[in-house]
Amino acid sequence: MSQHPPADPATMDDLYAEADHWHVNTGGSTIHAKRIPGKWRRIKWLAASVWLVFFFGPYLTWDGRQAVLFDIPRRQYHLFGATVLPQDFWMLSLLLLFFAILLAVATALAGRVYCGYFCFQTVWTDVFTWIEERLEGNPQQRRRLDQAPWSMAKLRVKAGKHALWVLIGFFTGFSFVAWFYGAGPLWRDFFIGQANSAVYASVALFTVGTYLLAGWLREQVCFWLCPYARIQGVMLDRTTIVPTYDVDRGEPRSRLHKDLTRTAMDPAEADHQPQRGGDCVACSQCVAVCPTGVDIRNGQQEGCITCGLCIDACDAVMDKVGRPRGLIRYASLDEMEGRPFKPMLRRPRVWVYSSILLMALAGITYGLSSLDAIDLRVLHERAPLYVLLSDGSIQNRYTLKLLNKSNEDLSVRLSVDSPKPITVVGTDDPVLARHGEVTATDVFVKIGRRALDSANVPVIFHAEAQLPDGGQISARRESAFFGPRR
């Protein structure tokens, strides 16, 4: 302990003053959280900066068009080199599974890290309150300004803040739409009223939604609106590391005075001054910095989004009063209670979650790598199942649907194989399959009555085409030839 600098009592009273207003957060008054620098604060900004991709991603180009574009009217989804059509959408379910499990595994290991660092509600609220702090000052100044009567000065400050909020809301919506509409066309059409109504409605919805949710509702969303906050609560277990107050070390808490004497917080204990108080000096800095207004010293609770800002605050105070850091730290319940720590790899939960993650990832990788340029479907005509022709042979009719997923129109050659001698009509000329479309063509297969010795003969359809770069692609589909029962 001697290596720590001595306490600086002069700052202590100010610290106490900062948390005087605190009460349980039921949304009755705005939380004005203090912003202080620190390790977790830095990590929080780093995580939040990933969202810049959301704003600037639409301007990336690939092969002369937007790199990632979800073209809903044309039902084509461009992901860099790959074009995904609705037929390949089973991959989307794997993607959703992947992220759902990722959320579960992250929560099981480290609590609500998603909430604390990456959730758009957290990030946008963080940016909005950062703007608020730049314009209106620190939390006490903000509270004073809120209570002050209206004046031109107040109006100017408030108007500027709300204008900035709305602007961010607008660009949130604008950037969102750019992923679907294309950034270039959006900038070209939007401001001259040429974009379609869905575009304007989406941008309006996002603008209003962002402004209200990040500007006004803030942590109340996490408390009362967000289902994930509740779902994640049941994913935590004793081994999950979350910001935790070290009760044994901290209690009994007591006020620290300028003369470095301490008084107990509880009036009942005021008579007998503690010989030595716990490390918690009851400065309530952990509460003052909390964006959701919870008191972490009460333990893990629904309002805690595990953002670690209280850890920064407490560490700063511990430095000031000359105590070791880590009174509030990322720790599991087991660790706090002195149970043996179980290595991550020996927890079945980790293995189960990881294997689901791997399976989903493998499926997506397989799907993306095996995106055939053409897809062949064969629909056997059912009415009639077969037709007796005048020469006595049996004819089956098939509708072939060719989906061309490449970026060029292809001339597709069709052929049919069967163990029986067959006559094929409709495959003489290549079929022009337009890119991004399904082209249907009819093929008739005939088998002589005498060659047809069973009611069901396998037939195999082949489609082959040459890509403009010379590559050969093919697709194959099995079907059956039906004849009268013998």
């Binding site: 059912r382 009639p384 022709l389 005048s390 006595g392 009719r397 249907a440």
Partner: protein
Amino acid sequence: MAESNPFPGENNTGHFWDDNLRELSNPPPRWWMIAFWLSFAWWVLYGILYPMWPTPWAQDGPGHTTGILGWSQIREFERGMAQVEAVRAQFEEQIAGMSAEEIIADPGLLQYVRSSARVLFGDYCAACHGSGGQGNPGYPVLADDDWLYGGTIAKITESITYGRKGAMTAHKDILTEAEVDQLARFVVTMSEGEPGSDEDWALFNAKGCIACHGPKGNGVLAELPDGTIVTVGASNLTDGIWRFEPGGYESARHTILYGVNQDVEGSRSAVMPAFGEAGTGTSGRLESSQIKKLAIYVHDLGGGR
């Protein structure tokens, strides 16, 4: 009710029961009231913009206010239909000015014709000929290559436009029982691909079957130099396809005895109604472009032969 308010400054209504049970008069939250009045304003606005109020006093019978936007469900429906028609119009205009052969040569148009004619076929043809042209007892299969009146586009167009009515004499008073038996056996023999005996052919020719079923019994009276086949709609007796179910000796015998479309009890009925345009002496149920589309579709059912 207490005389004096024991809870001053509490914002209660002044109503008390059992000393301390009282009714508070807290206002609803402001956002709730704003939403309430906005809803109310919307209700008023809606009443102005859209049809809303019944007008039972109106002179021309009970009606309703129309709203200043003039919106109505039927008009919205009509607008939607007009949009669909506009999309179709570009195809329909092309189809109207093209021959069936030209349409078949154009893959895009052919695709459109197949899709739109499928609907027409379901509406007008499928009741008798089956949804896929698979036929029904008494109604010919359209998906095979056996055509009574010819399977070219021109012949199919003719069949749809003017209809068809086959005719075969009832032979129960013309032929002896033994002759009917012999001819019925002969028909079965031919349908199995066997040539038949000279006596059979002699009877076939002598009794006039040749006049309609042709010298080869395949329903072809003559083949013109350009490949056109002349028929009167008599069936091809030399293939395994039977015009009247279930086929075989009894079917053949019945048809020979009672004929087709004769005023005789038990006679076969084989009538295809005329669908042609109004003013052509037909029912006028289909327009010429619809018939054109149907002809292509039906021609296509069996592979276009």
